[in-house]
């Protein structure tokens, strides 16, 4: 319903803005409506790299979890950006990316729950959360 209302109102907003400013606002609006995909991808890539670096370098397992969240959110950002881009440019109604992002959030929540459970169990046994002291995966 919201979606239909927005579409219906869209030309009216356009006419209003055209009439109101000297065209600058309209350009800004236009840009806001059609953002540049590459900036989102760059941000996503940066987030991903920060996440990976965090996972690989930090010793605290909680921080590693947070870094994993960064990686997941970088992926989500890419999904959303792509979905929006495809909605904007193509005729396709590409909501698959947005739905996928929701899935990723759900899975991330579940993962965080289980992961933190493991961390607690680990702490109870090993009394540490420093990953360089935990090498029992070797066995």
């Amino acid at each position: 319903m919201q979606f239909l209302l927005f579409n219906f109102l869209n030309p009216a907003f356009g006419m209003l803005l055209q009439a109101g400013g000297n065209g600058r606002f309209a350009i800004a609006w236009e840009k806001a409506q059609h953002p540049d995909l590459s900036k989102f991808l760059i941000i996503g890539a940066l987030l991903f790299i920060i996440g990976v670096a965090g996972v690989l370098t930090r010793r605290n397992i909680i921080v590693i979890f947070m870094s994993i969240e960064l990686i997941l959110n970088a992926a989500n950002l890419n999904f959303i950006a792509m979905s929006r881009y495809l909605q904007d440019t193509g005729n396709v109604n590409a909501v698959a990316g947005q739905i996928f992002a929701v899935f990723v959030i759900v899975v991330a929540a579940a993962e965080a729950a289980i992961g933190l459970g493991i961390v607690i169990a680990l702490y109870r046994n090993k009394e540490t959360i420093w990953v360089d002291e935990i090498d029992i995966l070797k066995w």
């Binding site: 990976v52 996972v55 690989l56 370098t57 360089d132 935990i134 995966l137 070797k138």
Partner: protein, 815 residues
């Protein structure tokens, strides 16, 4: 009525089938079983009588001609159809041509498809024929007499058996076997070819086996039946070889064809072993087996383990005369070979004396009669060997009467004595068993050869023919041996009668069971049975005895000696010599029978058959002085005749001699066993070696046991040893070799191949393991790093070019 002779063997078979197949299942009563068995034999006997009458004595008799049921379609089917036979033997060229024509004619008569296949005999090189063996019955003088004996004497014995076997658990089985035996015997004597004779021959052998072993739960009966069967196989082997010879030589098995061809062959004098001599030898070996001649006689005395009616029917009256039937049937073949005639005569004489001397010392009443049978069969072969085939058959007939009578009398005694067979425990039975005694007396006088009982006529004729034979040079030896045997016969028969029917009642001394006696289920209810007082047998048993006694008394008159009748065989066809004349081949004239009355064209004159019977006179016999084979050597009768100048007087001389020796035998027996009963023991002690030899039957059984049974067992043991050592050893050795080789290859596999594999694997593992162990740190971040590196590598691999281009363009733009 002669068209219906095919019913004669069929009726006993049907009776046997009903009794044997249904008797047990439907629980037939003994009356019904006996009725079926006796009824079937009685009807067969009536048909036989009617057929013989219509064949030989009615107004439209077809007498001298052989009647075969296939000739007018009365009964015939092709039993073994058309095989081509190549004749590898034989000489006469005209005969070969005739056979070739016959083969061609038979081929032309066949169907189109069959004609495509060539018959080997059609070529020029070898003679050939088509062997079609038919199943048809033959009626002629010889088979008439045998049919009458088999069905007539058989009927008496069947009636006797219904009384004797009463209460036996296997009543139905007994009569089924007996009926089957009658069928086989009738096929034997009525068949029109050698193969049918062979079927009957084996059939009676089988039935003999079954009936000797009737009490199969007794060891000696089972052994005796096996012994009889195996001994007969030896004879059958010779018989089968002779049949092969007949087929190979003549290309047919039909009597009329075979004998017609054989009559054209050359005579083979003494010492010449031609084709027919060998054939006759094979036939005689068969006859020796079936008729218990030396050295194959061993089975007959043991055959007494069977029930007494069986001994009477099979081992005295009918089956054992099958050899005589066969020799007489094939008299053409035998008369071609002087050697074989002499062999037959000598074997017969030897057997007669041999068995008679054994009979003197035996104590079992049935054993005495059994050896007597062997001895009498020897007399019959003696007759055949000296050329008097008719007299041999005449003795078969009279012997069937008196020996069946005596065996049944012995059966009656055994029955009355509660299965006691040892004569030493009998005595004075005439008081208890008058009918049996009176009938037995007739048999005794007949076998001793007292005029005018039947045995006198036949035995005297045999001895006379032996003395006066022109066929073989050793007739005088045969006569002397036969005369001694006749003396012995009279002696041991008098002994038997004296020990059984006269003297003291030795059974009152108590009864112990050490002596083997015939056991069968018999109701021991009457009080007499417990005190062992003998009793007379029921009418079903003594009536057949009476009938046979009458026959044994008067049966000999059909062959009355020419000395009594002025040198002629009187009585026309009622005289057995005239009746059987057409089937006996005459080597001098090379015709069947004696003088033919021929017209100018050389054909027999029609209507002279009646006259022909009278032509066979002693004069015609006397005119043929010379032996058909050439030299005849020393001849007793001719020497005596040259002294007496009269043939009738010579014959009378020999009759008186034979009566005299019979009297001596009887007198000695009377003296030994009635007058002074201590004498037998005294003389047994004095002639101890002879007595022992006779009592132990000349150790023939022991000799065979040593020479045959032991050798066969040794051979079997040797073969067994070979099997267990060599063959099993080979098998086990190969198994051992397999195990050895498997152990070797196993060792190679285990130590060499596995070692190499293990060494290589261990080397690789040792080499590589530090590397992989180092890689596995256990730190999750290391693994993650590797993953990232892998990701970077993958991205670099797949998108490296794109990335490089993009970077380049950025820098290019920036610069």
């Amino acid at each position: 009525m002669h068209r219906y002779i095919w019913l004669v063997p069929l009726l006993p078979l049907a009776g046997a089938a009903i009794n044997g197949l249904l008797g047990r299942k439907l629980r037939f009563s003994e009356k019904l079983i006996g009725g079926i068995a006796v009824g079937s034999i009685a009807v067969a006997f009536l048909i036989t009588v009617a057929a013989v009458y219509s064949y030989a004595f009615s107004s439209n008799a077809m007498w001298p001609q052989t009647y075969v049921t296939s000739q007018d379609g009365a009964f015939n089917f092709t039993w073994i159809p058309g095989g081509a036979v190549r004749l590898t033997q034989g000489s006469q060229e005209p005969l070969a041509l005739k056979l070739r024509e016959e083969a061609a004619a038979k081929r032309a008569a066949r169907s189109q498809e069959q004609r495509q296949q060539p018959i080997p005999g059609g070529s020029e090189e070898t003679r050939g024929s088509v062997l079609d063996v038919e199943w048809s019955y033959q009626l002629d003088a010889l088979s008439s007499i045998f049919m009458l004996i088999v069905t007539g004497v058989g009927l008496c014995i069947f009636v006797f058996a219904t009384g004797y076997m009463r209460g036996d658990a296997g009543f139905y089985r007994f009569f089924a076997y007996m009926g089957l035996f009658m069928f086989s015997m009738l096929v034997l004597v009525m068949g029109s070819n050698f193969l049918m004779m062979f079927v009957g021959w084996e059939g009676v052998g089988l039935c003999s086996y079954l009936l000797i072993g009737y009490y199969f739960d007794r060891q000696e009966a089972a052994n005796a039946s096996r012994k009889a069967f195996i001994t007969n196989r030896v004879g059958d082997f010779g018989f089968a070889l002779a049949i092969f010879g007949v087929v190979a030589t003549f290309g047919t098995t039909q009597y009329t064809d075979v004998f017609g061809q054989a009559a054209t062959f050359q005579l083979e004098p003494l010492g010449h072993w031609g084709l027919l001599s060998w054939m006759a030898l094979g036939l005689f070996i068969g006859a020796c087996g079936k008729s218990a001649q030396l050295p194959l006689h061993v089975w007959l005395p043991d055959a007494m383990a069977g029930p007494t009616p069986v001994s009477a029917l099979i081992h005295a009256a009918t089956m054992v005369t099958a050899g005589l039937y066969m020799v007489t049937r094939t008299n053409v073949i035998f008369q071609h070979s002087q050697t074989m005639m002499m062999v037959v005569a000598l074997v017969g004489a030897a057997t007669a004396l041999f068995a008679a001397t054994i009979g003197i010392t035996q104590n079992d009443i049935k054993k005495v009669l059994a050896y007597s049978t062997v001895s009498q069969l020897g007399f019959m072969f003696m007759a055949c060997g000296v050329g008097a085939f008719v007299i041999g058959i005449f003795h078969v007939m009279t012997h069937a009467f008196f020996k069946a009578l005596m065996f049944l009398g012995a059966g009656s005694v055994i029955h009355g004595m509660h299965h006691e067979q040892d004569m030493r425990r009998m005595g004075n039975l005439r008081k208890y068993m008058p009918y049996t005694y009176l009938t037995f007396l007739a048999g005794w006088l007949a076998i001793c050869g007292i005029i005018p009982f039947s045995g006198f006529w036949s035995k005297d004729e045999i001895l006379w023919n032996a003395a006066s034979t022109r066929y073989i040079p050793v007739g005088w030896i045969v006569w002397i041996v036969g005369t001694i045997a006749a003396t012995c016969t009279a002696f041991y028969m008098t002994r038997l009668v004296a020990m059984t029917f006269w003297g003291k009642e030795k059974f009152l001394n108590g009864h112990d069971h050490t002596v083997e006696h015939e056991v069968h289920n018999h109701d021991h209810e009457t009080p007499e049975h417990h005190t062992h007082i003998p009793h007379e047998s029921p009418p079903s048993m003594w009536v057949p005895l009476a009938v046979l006694a009458v026959l044994a008394t008067v049966g000999g008159f059909v062959g009355i000696s020419t000395a009594f009748t002025g040198g002629k065989h009187i009585g026309g066809r009622m005289n057995i010599v005239n009746f059987m004349d057409p089937i006996i081949w005459n080597p001098t004239t090379r015709h069947f029978g004696h003088e033919e009355i021929l017209d100018s064209a050389g054909r027999p004159v029609e209507g002279t058959r009646e006259a022909r019977a009278e032509v066979v006179t002693a004069e015609t016999e006397a005119t043929e002085v010379a032996s058909p084979y050439g030299e005849e050597g020393f001849n007793l009768a001719h020497v005596a005749e040259s002294k007496l100048h009269s043939e009738t007087a010579t014959e009378w001389l020999f009759i008186l001699i034979s009566l005299l020796v019979a009297g001596i035998g009887i007198g000695l027996g009377f003296f030994f066993y009635v007058k002074d009963t201590r004498l037998p023991d005294i003389w047994a002690a004095r002639l101890r070696p002879l007595y022992q030899a006779s009592y132990n039957k000349y150790w023939v059984d022991e000799f065979f046991g040593w020479a045959v049974t032991r050798r066969v067992m040794d051979a079997a043991r040797g073969v067994f040893a070979f099997d267990s050592k060599v063959i099993d050893g080979g098998v086990n050795g190969s198994a051992w070799l397999t195990r050895l080789s498997s152990r070797i290859t196993g060792g190679i596999d285990q130590y060499f191949v596995d070692g190499v594999v293990n060494a290589i694997a261990a080397f690789i593992v040792r080499l590589m393991s530090p590397l992989f162990r180092a890689a596995q740190t256990g730190f999750a971040q290391n693994y993650a790093l590797v993953m990232v590196l892998g990701l970077v590598a993958a991205v670099a691999l797949f998108f490296g070019a794109d990335i490089a281009r993009a970077v380049k363009s950025v820098f290019a733009f920036g610069l």
